[in-house]
Symmetry: C2
DNA sequence: TGTATTTACATCGCGTACGATTCAGTTTAA
DNA sequence: TTAAACTGAATCGTACGCGATGTAAATACA
């Protein structure tokens, strides 16, 4: 990593733009379901493993309670999630999918897939990109900041 | 790009996390100056070329007026920017740096550089990553979404 | 010329995103 | 066994980020 200044400024900006681009693309795909991108991420986690604690979801998504709690509350209002106090630890709450959220999984995933296919990232080497991003994010994890 | 589903879900998530990681890192570096990351991006644009129209800044950063306008207003309150109506086009406004914003350039850039060096992204191939991200973002540009 | 469209900016509503604080419940250790 | 330290959530304040709408100025064009 020689000459971090210019290079890194541009790297952080490319990441920033890519993130906002993805966010907008997914927003379009998820709009018919009245879902936002972060809400979709919560569903992805719970479709993989239902009944997690708020804490666990936050860890997987890298979100603090200040961000995650309002998202979960909106999804409860939408009738997608249910929250119940854990018996073993009364501070903690278990978040579970409703039937509605379970039954729409296939349709939502199909809509996202359709969008991705229609977008067709010409020539982008997604494998390499993912690998490099994972390395980058792993680096962040070991930092004090 | 075979099997977009899982792969792409993860790609968008890696980008999402990387963006938030960068944002937090830069936030730390910029905190002493009472600057946020998006505010810093505005400064980067204007340090390169002062006296741009709001429209130009928005184009370079990929931000709409709904996002950019409040940022500029805060930076005016901070005493970093000045806004004046364009004479040639009375709808447009020229955004210029104050002396304060010009004089702090070196110190801000040094602080960011120090932070980047102290973070030391071990083994991350920034060149390749940048290249792939630029391709990705170029793809987004040619999309309808 | 006069009207229709477009453009530049402002504002609004909603939904993140994050650090800081608060509070109740849990664990640790003296 | 308590007091102290810690932990999981909730809440608050500030700042994006975006689509939609509003308004005035500029441009197109019939």
């Amino acid at each position: 990593m020689e000459k971090p200044t210019k290079l890194e400024q541009q790297l952080c900006f490319e990441v920033y733009k890519a993130s906002s681009n993805f966010s907008k693309m997914y927003a379009k795909a998820l709009e018919p379901f009245n879902l936002t991108f972060p809400q979709y991420l919560v569903l992805l986690v719970l479709w993989e493993e239902d009944g997690l604690l708020t804490k666990n979801i936050g860890e997987r998504l890298g979100l603090g309670t200040g961000t995650l709690n309002p998202i979960i509350n909106r999804m409860i209002e939408q009738g997608r999630l249910v929250k119940e106090q854990s018996q073993s630890d009364k501070r903690a709450f278990t978040i579970s999918l409703t039937e509605k959220a379970k039954s729409e999984q296939a349709a939502v995933e199909q809509a996202v897939l359709d969008k991705l296919i229609s977008c067709d990232f010409m020539g982008v080497n997604a494998i390499t990109l993912m690998k490099n991003l994972k390395e980058l994010n792993a680096s962040f994890k070991t930092m004090d900041l």
